[in-house]
Amino acid sequence: MMREVGCAACHEIPGIAWPEGRTGPSLVGFDDIGPIAGTLPNTPENLAFFVRNAPLAKPGSTMPAMPLTEEEARDVAAYLYIIDDE
């Protein structure tokens, strides 16, 4: 799913070798690095909300609302929490 929408154009993502975009923060070790976008509690639910509604969750964010369904957004969130990426 992350490949289909191109998250990696802005983010370094564990398990995705290319691209490793730098416009957004690296998502390596995402589940261990503090609040989402520096504002939201770091939970899968919040992340699933954030990827579909970044401008609403954090006004002024560079990240746009990504074209994902709710289910897809949950899958993306689950991926970032489950993946073992010390």
Partner: protein, 351 residues
């Protein structure tokens, strides 16, 4: 988690590059038009003949080592050399040559001049695409995307602006080089509607491996609709909402903080984008980079490598160098988030 993953496997499957290399059956063995078809038949015939000859050689080797004395003597005789060494290959190879040339004769048939013509020019590292009328005038410019009507031969005028590139859509034809200073002609035809990936097949430096495009073959109705959409006057479209079902929480794409106050078009002109990119109907007339007149309706960004949505557009503007290292567009990280977004929104409207 292993990070040693092939780049292809990590690209989105809709990109032109992945479509050109991957799939089952492999694109080179999955022809979608007559020119690729004859090449595939010849390929299988040669593989088949190769298998038969290998089997004969292995059998002869077995006889020579372990076979009965009587057969060994025969195999070592002068007659076997005349038959197996000269007559058999002579007849088979001559036959194959005649058959192969007949089969692929259509590849070198004279171009009648009545075919639709498209000029595709290779740049480091993207493809400029110009649709031509009967007298060779450019009627529409696009980039990194080639649209064709199904069932009609189309002549591609292959040119290059810098170094040697090669044009290859494995589903539709063989490769042909794009050579600076000359025009090569390649006839392609798609008999099935669909999307076929294409790549540059000649190493051209830097991010050559990230230089691809998408070919879209339309049926008659789809073709006229597409051509219509491209030929008609382009009014400044209203803000477009990204498609997608949005139940419980509405994805609010129009909510974009202060971007409403920012004029993406003006930013595009003022930030220097217009020096390299052309957008028909505006003052942007740069020719060094891909034409962005229709960028909002393109299937990919970055020459067949990224899906096209607001996020990837912002990522490309903000730091294209991390996505396609060495490409000739600088990373516009001096723009603010809102400015990048405003430009991306304006570009989305350029269909």
């Amino acid at each position: 988690m292993s990070r040693r993953i092939s780049i292809l496997s990590t690209m989105n499957s809709n990109s032109g590059i992945v479509e050109a290399w991957w799939g089952w059956p492999p694109p080179v063995l999955d022809p979608a038009g007559p020119y690729a078809d004859s090449v595939m038949v010849l390929t299988w015939a040669l593989i088949g003949m190769g298998a038969v000859v290998t089997a004969i050689v292995v059998a002869a080797l077995y006889v020579a080592i372990k076979g009965p004395e009587r057969l060994k003597t025969k195999l070592g005789g002068e007659r076997a050399v005349w038959i197996g060494g000269i007559a058999f290959p002579g007849i088979v190879l001559t036959g194959l040559l005649v058959w192969g040339l007949t089969l692929t004769a259509s590849l070198t048939h004279d171009i009648t001049g009545n075919e639709m013509r498209v000029r595709v020019t290779g740049y480091m590292w993207w493809f400029d695409v110009e649709y031509l009328d009967e007298s060779g005038n450019v009627v529409m410019r696009d980039a990194n995307e080639l649209h064709l009507p199904v069932g009609k031969p189309v002549v591609i005028e292959l040119a290059s602006a810098d170094v040697i590139h090669s044009f290859w859509v494995p589903h539709l034809s063989g490769k042909k080089d794009m050579i600076p200073g000359r025009t090569n002609l390649l006839r392609i035809q798609a008999d099935k509607s669909g999307r076929y990936g294409g790549v540059c097949a000649e190493y051209c430096g830097g991010p050559h491996a990230l230089m691809g495009f998408v070919t879209v073959a339309h049926d008659a109705r789809g073709w006229s609709a597409w051509w219509q959409s491209r030929s008609s006057e382009r009014p400044e479209a209203a803000d477009r909402h990204v498609p997608g079902a949005l139940p419980a929480v509405a994805r609010n794409v129009s909510l974009r903080a202060d971007s409403d106050d920012l004029n993406g078009r003006q930013l595009f002109m003022d930030s220097g984008c217009a020096a390299c990119h052309r957008v028909a109907g505006t003052l942007a007339n740069g020719l060094a980079g891909p034409d962005l007149t229709h960028v909002g309706s393109r299937l990919t960004l970055g020459a067949g490598i990224l899906p096209n949505n607001r996020g990837t557009m912002i990522g490309w503007i903000g730091d294209s160098q991390s996505i396609k290292p060495g490409n000739r567009m600088p990373s516009y990280d001096m723009l603010s988030a809102k400015e990048m977004e405003a430009i991306a929104i304006w570009l989305e409207q350029q269909k």
